[in-house]
Symmetry: C2
Subunit: 346 residues, 2 copies
């Protein structure tokens, strides 16, 4: 693992190095915008059964690497495999997103398993092992999990909602039960990330999609403190673990996040001011991001200008090119080709 | 107007003064959480016909003043009266929010009126005049409009959508047509705000609910530049005009907003870090905000602690207490009483 690292541009950046051509990968790079993904998706009965089929999941993980030669593959999975492995029923309705049996009352927490069921997650570890064996040496393999707050919002509401009001209200009204849920998710996520490293992941990303909607004090309690505990726990098992934090929407709290959470790099959403990020964040830690997924969907000059603005702002420091959120399903493949060529000045 | 100002705590703060007991009002303080509002709402055929009935609109504007003795009344209306006055069909579906005939193609802009129809807005001016005549001297009357970007997102999508993707994509794909729409909204909003001042408003607020989802460069083009033009145009007609900007979700761009837009005060959403706001924003301009509406809904100790944290952070400078977003319909009236008493240390 140590030797392989020096060959992987992504890991060099995560170690703090500036790489002259920034490594690039995209959140949701394996997904519906790719015709070869849609073909595989049809073979699986459901989205979750695709996540839990190592042969198919490894295949869709590798598809965007073959097509675009990205610098990282991200294991094909979903942040909601953790509630699933805690015994909550999770399903995905076509075109509607996730549906869980909502934990709307504190007592409902008792229905969950006390610890994560590693057997339920074994297929993800197997996917990682299969991808690892097929991946070019220069390409890093990235695992991931959802941050406790973000996962909890889905566990409580049973679905995505505007501003995730149900979880925020639950946290206000049942602070002890909510703290217990977060604690279980810290333990589960730590074990899950360590398992991914042990299966072969070179780095992991912690997605806190809903970090931005928390007020000041709750941002500390439900976002930075739990994620910092995950980082510490994972590193106690995997001392060399490379971890990227992605607190989407954190805005004015990004510096606090970096101060409180010893991640190796921070992912930036498309709403972060470029000069702010360069001056206040990149001087502290490598950064990753932050192209607007809609600029990628739009293509043309819009895309070129947006890419150039990001390269101008960030390419002089340690930087990983990525989107500020996932690839949209309607994105033309040709626009992704245009993006990769532009970043690599090919 | 000059003399009256000195009696109104809200206007003293907008002039840069610190007031020992911060003035307080709440976004959506006239609304469904009040039983007396729900009774009046039943008298009107539709939400828009309530907005355009000066007798009823004045009554619901005054209801929260009678009940809570807020320091400001905000005229009961909606940001979508501007598209209505530009000739776009606007309606409100019960429980579903606004529906407009979407401007999904650039050519659709030609269906709009070139300038605003002041006759269509006359009922709002009349509401302001009626409220003004009944308002205690110490209470400020606040008018408002939506910022061009936010109004445009609804005009293009025809409704509220997740992250307002349709308008963002339209702006990328049809930048000239989109700039023309923004320009028309700048003109319309400037005329509308000036009309509200002439009818008796003491101050106005420009709501940019969707400012936060814009990337760096688009934030300048579609948020700060247009709003700055509105402020300049209104002040060319009403030199003393007091204007509050509210770029919700602006996060790391709040300082840029203050640098670019000469508003008298800035409204803060509940996601803004308190220490950041005190150090970086309140030293430049009076601030308004930023209690989480869910903390108000939750009540109890949660509410008290959240209120105290805000007072501790902001009460030493020029400050107007408000929420970080509108009152939620499910909010108990008793919690609003608790909030007002806490802020006033009554």
């Amino acid at each position: 693992m140590q030797n392989a690292r020096t060959d992987k541009p992504l890991l060099r950046v995560l170690a703090g190095e500036r790489v002259s051509v920034p490594p690039i990968w995209l959140m949701r790079q394996a997904g519906r915008y790719l015709p070869e993904y849609r073909r595989i998706r049809e073979e699986a009965e459901s989205f979750l059964s695709l996540c839990f089929n190592p042969r198919l999941a490894a295949e869709v993980t590798l598809q965007p690497i073959r097509r675009f030669a990205f610098d990282a593959a991200i294991v094909f999975s979903d942040i909601l495999v953790v509630p699933h492995a805690l015994g909550q029923r999770v399903r995905f309705e076509v075109g509607e997103g996730p549906r869980l049996d909502a934990l709307s009352e504190p007592d409902a927490l008792q229905r969950l398993r006390p610890t994560i069921d590693h057997a339920a997650l074994a297929p993800v570890y197997e996917t990682i092992a299969q991808v690892k064996s097929q991946l070019p040496l220069a390409v890093a393999l990235v695992g991931f999990c959802g941050a406790p707050w973000t996962v909890a919002t889905y566990m409580i509401a049973g679905r995505g909602t505007a501003d995730q009001l149900p979880a925020r209200l639950f946290a206000y009204q049942h602070p002890r039960a909510f703290a217990e849920l977060i604690e279980r998710l810290v333990d589960a996520s730590s074990a899950y990330l360590a398992g991914q490293f042990e299966a072969g992941a070179d780095a992991v990303q912690i997605f806190d999609t809903w970090a931005g909607i928390l007020p000041d004090e709750e941002f500390r309690k439900w976002c930075t403190e739990p994620v910092a505990r995950i980082v510490a726990t994972v590193r106690s098992r995997i001392p060399e673990a490379r971890i990227i934090g992605f607190p989407r929407g954190a805005g004015t709290r990004l510096e606090r996040y970096l101060a409180a959470v010893p991640v190796d790099a921070i992912g930036l959403d498309w709403m972060v001011d470029l000069s702010f990020a360069r001056e206040h964040l990149q001087k502290q830690r490598p950064i990753q991001g932050n192209l607007d997924p809609l600029a990628l969907l739009a293509g043309g000059d819009t895309l070129d200008r947006a890419v150039d603005a990001i390269l101008d702002a960030f390419a002089e420091g340690p930087f990983i090119f990525n989107l500020g959120h996932g690839v949209l399903p309607e994105t033309p493949v040709a626009h992704v080709e245009q993006l990769v060529a532009r970043v690599r000045r090919a």
